[in-house]
Structures are given as C-alpha cells and as structure tokens.
C-alpha cells in the first residue's frame, strides 16, 4: 500500500469546504442551543407544574439517548409530522442545537442557582421588576459563572457535528468519507481529517483557557 499525502493538498478545497461547514454547523447549532437553554433553565427553576415537567422531560430525553438517534429522529420524523421538506443541514442544526441546548440548560440552572438570593432581594427593593431583575442582575452573573461549562459544551459540539455526515451533510467527516472512496488513501485521509478536527478543538480550548485567565484576573 502506497501512501500519497499529496491527496490532501490536491483536494484541499473540498476538505476546507467541509471544515467551513463544520464550523458553520457548530456555530449555528450553538446559537440555537443558547436560545433554548436559558428559557429551559428558567422553566425548570421557576416554571409552573406543567412547564417544569416539559422542560425536565426535554433535558432528560436528550441526556438519556444517543445524539445519533436524536439526529435521525428529528431529520426523518419531523417532516412526516409537519410536511416540512428540509435539507440535512437544517435537520443537523436543529438536532445538534437541541442536544447541546439541554446540556447548556443544566449549566445555566446551576449558574442561576449560584447567584445569591440577596441579589434578587436587593434588586427588588430598589424597584426593579421581576423581569429586569432576571435580565440585569441574575443572568449576567450566572453567565459569567457558567461560561467555562458552556465553552466546554461547545468543544464537544464541534466534535459531535461529525455525526451530521450520517445524514449527508457535507461537513469535514463527510468530505473525508467521500475522498476515501474516491482515492482509497484511507490512512492519509482519515489521519488528515482527524488532524483538522484536532486543530479546531485545540484552538477552541486555547480560547477557553485564555478566557478563564482573563476572567480570573478580573475577579
């Protein structure tokens, strides 16, 4: 078996397109995750009996099943119920966003609980409404304490976007699979693809450490 590392250079555009889609998928899913996470955390802490249960069921369902089956369920079953005709990319964004949203919600729940109750009392005593107390007092403090957890979840998400290849999203792993069948340079291609993921995740975790240092200096 002859190894030709040059195939990585020959197909660089194809691979970089995949890498760009991996980043796009991770960032879009992260945006969805955050929009889901805060209301879910609040619902679990302050919601009525029904909202609390619904939010709890969502989190438990995500934590108790493999991301792969969530992806298949959402991609194949949502169109059956709604008649919606969506692309694999959108299916993957929704599935991965909902997945990380549940983990982020757990982080936010702990973060919100860690804000001292005196802060709320002080804000209310100063005449802030319940809504502004949450937005101006609780959430900023909670976000600061959960930021490391959120970023770790994001790195996990970045790696888990690879499962989107199974429904045909043209991201990095999919690009690797296609190149593998086209060139049979398995060792070169999968090592190259793994190295590209490593670059992405090492860069992301360097960012996390930097942020933790900045935050520690500010405290």
């Amino acid at each position: 078996m002859e190894f030709r590392p040059s195939v990585l250079w020959e197909y660089r555009v194809f691979l970089l397109q995949g890498m760009a889609n991996t980043a796009l998928l991770a960032l879009t899913a992260q945006a969805l995750a955050l929009t889901l996470a805060v209301p879910t955390a609040v619902a679990r802490l302050r919601g009525g009996a029904v909202t609390r249960r619904v939010a709890g069921a969502y989190v438990e369902f995500v934590r108790g099943t493999p991301a792969l089956i969530q992806l298949f369920w959402i991609f194949y079953c949502i169109p059956i119920f709604t008649g919606l005709d969506w692309s694999p990319l959108w299916g993957a964004i929704v599935a991965l966003g909902m997945n990380v949203g549940a983990y982020d919600a757990e982080a936010f729940r702990a973060g919100i609980q860690s804000v001292h109750f005196g802060q709320v009392q002080a804000a209310r005593a100063l005449g802030l409404s319940a809504w502004s107390t949450f937005w101006a007092i609780i959430l900023p403090q909670a976000t600061r304490s959960v930021l490391p957890a959120l970023l770790n979840n994001f790195i996990g998400l970045l790696l888990y976007t690879s499962i989107a290849s199974t429904i045909g999203v043209h991201e990095l792993t999919y690009a690797g699979g296609k190149l593998n069948t086209a060139t049979f340079q398995s060792v070169v291609i999968f090592t190259g693809v793994a190295a590209l993921y490593l670059v992405l995740s090492v860069a992301a975790s360097a960012g996390v450490r930097r942020l933790e240092r900045v935050q520690a200096r500010r405290d």
Partner: protein, 221 residues
C-alpha cells in the same frame, strides 16, 4: 393518529427479535469498551502523572488526540486504517470495542489524574514516613481516597460510552442503532422504530443518570 400520521406499532413488534439482538450487541460493545476504558484509563492516568517523560508524554498524547477528535472519526480511522497499517483483520465489533475503549481511556485517564491530584500531598508524605513504599502508598492511601471522588465522573463516563456505542452502527456493527436503521429501510416506519429505540436507550441510560445525580448530590460535588 398524530396529525395525519397513523402509528403502526405492529411493525415494531414484527421486528422485535432484530431489535433485541441489536440491544444485546450494544450491551456487549458498551460493557467491553467500558472495561477497556477503565483499565486503559488507569494506566493512562498514572502514566500522565509519572515523572518519567517516556511515560508521561505518550499518555498525554493519547489523551489529547482522543479527546480532541470526534469518536466517529476515530471509529473510521480504526476501521479503515488499522488493516492497512498493521495487516490485521479485525471484525467490526472488535474494532468498535478497541476504538471506543481507547476513546474512553482518554477520558477515564483524566478522571484518574484529577482524582489522584485531589488527594493532598501530605498523605503520601505521611505514608512514606511510616515506611510504606511508593507503590503501597498509592495502593493503600491515595487510590482509595481518589476512587471515592472519581465515582460521579466515572458514572457519567459510563453513560457517555453507552450512548457512543450507537456510533458503531456507521462501521456496520449490528447494534441497536444499526438494526433500527435496517428495519426502517425495510418498512419505512421511521417514527415507530426511532421512537421505540430511543425509548430503549432512555430506559437504560436514565436510571444511571438519576443515580449519578443522587451521587453528586450526596458527595456535594
């Protein structure tokens, strides 16, 4: 009826044997990978802490690589590249156990390292002063204390490995996810099969998740 869709659970019942056989394979892959992960993780974690670079660096490399790349790509790498590089013929199942086991070793290694580092240095010094050897101090003093702190993250790792077994479907391991996919491609009953299989995974993982939460709550982590 849900909207315009009528559920037909009888198709799932017809394929029950396929799903059960898949579940058994999932269980095997999960248990073996976890066993390998615990053993490998202990070695990797202790290696990472070693003062000898010949041990610490390979352990650190393994941890970085397996935590910094997607488990799905790792599975592909083992499935396609191992036979080419080392001229070995491994079944898909063995490949999955090996790949997921090493993936889990990296995480367990970090848990072991964290657990051991959380034990105060004075404990080792006291043990050494009392005449215990380095190995005895590790086995009798450090590990028992470390293990108690390692329990919650190890449980969480076990759940993660169980869920990661679903990825083995992509290298044709006939586990639950693979058989579910098979059944849907024959019956086109996506909703029924994916829902039932998700509930099966849920029934296995949730008790572990709940136990984990009680454990965390008790140990105040």
């Amino acid at each position: 009826m849900i909207g315009h869709y009528s559920l037909d659970l009888s198709s799932v019942w017809r394929y029950r044997e396929l799903l059960v056989s898949g579940l058994l394979v999932s269980g095997w892959v999960g248990a073996l990978a976890l066993g390998l992960g615990l053993l490998g993780g202990l070695v990797v974690g202790l290696g990472r802490l070693s003062r000898r670079r010949a041990l610490a660096w390979p352990a650190g490399f393994l941890i970085e690589v397996f935590r910094g790349t997607p488990p799905l790509v790792q599975l592909f790498w083992f499935y396609y590249c191992l036979p080419l590089l080392f001229d070995v013929r491994l079944s898909a199942l063995t490949t999955a156990v090996l790949s997921l086991g090493l993936f889990s070793s990296a995480y367990v290694g970090e848990i072991v390292r964290g657990g051991i580092q959380s034990v105060h240095k004075g404990q080792v010094q006291a043990a050494r002063a009392l005449g215990l050897s380095q190995l005895q101090a590790l086995r009798e003093i450090v590990l028992p204390q470390a293990v108690r702190r390692m329990w919650p993250p190890l449980m969480s790792q076990a759940v993660d490995v169980l869920k990661a077994t679903a990825l083995a479907s992509s290298i044709t391991v006939p586990e639950l996810m693979y058989q579910t996919y098979n059944a849907t491609s024959q019956t086109f009953r996506f909703v029924e099969f994916y829902t039932v299989s998700a509930l099966i995974y849920l029934a296995i993982c949730l008790p572990l998740v709940w136990r984990l939460r009680r454990l965390e709550w008790r140990s105040g982590v």
